[in-house]
Subunit: 155 residues, 3 copies
């Protein structure tokens, strides 16, 4: 067995595990938010999803798009585009022996900025709220990537 007490004592990795789990759970709530919007607004994309509300021509009227649903889906896709690099780069960064307080600063800023991004997208708040939230998360990820490549490039 791997000596798991070793991993459990690596604070940067433990912090990464906690923050990654939190932000992934938040991202998963976007699926429920989309489903909730679709059901309350009766806006569907698959004929089998609205079979319950009527048959044939009667059901077809629910096959439509809706601004509100599309907004949630865009926020979800933006999450995916930004959380995937954070997961990959953050995992490697947390294993590269960073200073723990610097690592915590990175993880906290990222998670905070992504939560604010979702709030700014779904409310919606006027720009540049969403743009700023996006660039904070983006900058944090690049900062970790820069640290990784500076210290331990192996090509």
């Amino acid at each position: 067995m791997v000596d798991l007490t070793q991993v459990a004592e690596n604070e940067a990795f433990m912090a990464f595990a906690s923050y990654a789990t939190i932000i992934l759970s938040k991202m998963m709530f976007m699926s429920t938010a989309t489903a909730f919007q679709r059901l309350t607004k009766k806006v569907f994309v698959n004929p089998e999803d609205c079979a319950h509300f009527g048959k044939g021509e009667n059901a077809k009227k629910y096959l439509r798009t809706d601004d509100r649903v599309e907004r949630v889906r865009r926020a979800h896709l933006n999450d995916l585009e930004n959380i995937v690099p954070f997961l990959g780069i953050g995992l490697l960064y947390s294993l590269s022996g960073p200073d723990v307080s610097t690592a915590l600063l990175h993880f906290r800023l990222f998670v905070g900025s992504r939560i604010y991004h979702t709030i700014a997208y779904l409310t919606p708040l006027p720009q540049p709220n969403r743009a700023l939230a996006f660039f904070v998360g983006y900058g944090v990820t690049f900062s970790m990537a820069y640290n990784l490549l500076k210290n331990r490039l192996y090509l």
Copy 2:
């Protein structure tokens, strides 16, 4: 060198590696499914993709959308939205020293539910087949996240 026999003896991690590889390979088949539908139905989104079938105005008629192609793409995106959290949370969970048989149950349920989800989406099967498949995978991932955060939160 890391003593890889150590990692190879961590059964929960080995199980995660196997199931993650299987479900990622399944997800990759969605790309080929989209390409196959596009080529057999001659439904393209980029002008350069159908240059082979005709020049100028003659080629433009292939730049269209098709229900069948969009269905495969939606199934693919849904995979991505759900497999990314499974990868992140599952990796951390498998390293957190879970009971091996509990971990195996989680991984098997997730992989089974995602394969069933794809079948239900592409056939398509009537609801609530797809919804149930989705929620099984969703619940499994949250269960792992809950275990992680309960035992080893480090914020």
Copy 3:
């Protein structure tokens, strides 16, 4: 603490970390490319994004789609669909004790093919440039998955 000198001496893992960071950074540039196209072409999808350019009806004319913007977004989504399996499978593969030069060949081919894919998509180059780039990356990922499952399947 985990003995990080151990990880740092695992050459296959270090190589994976470097290539994964590079390809994720490339993927992140796609977000900026989309934002750049949206701002220079004044093509927006959210009303709050173009509030700056005019009020009410005057702003609505910027809520439109544009071929160029959609092309960048498709390239970004294709990246996501292919880089996620590479991250998951590549990480597990790099920890499975592969021959270092074989591993390097896989990582280099993948990163090279994805960069070429983006160039082929955005220029755009005539087919089959993009299709070939796609299939090289796809084949590399399957080759790693095959190696993983052949040697250490645990179900």
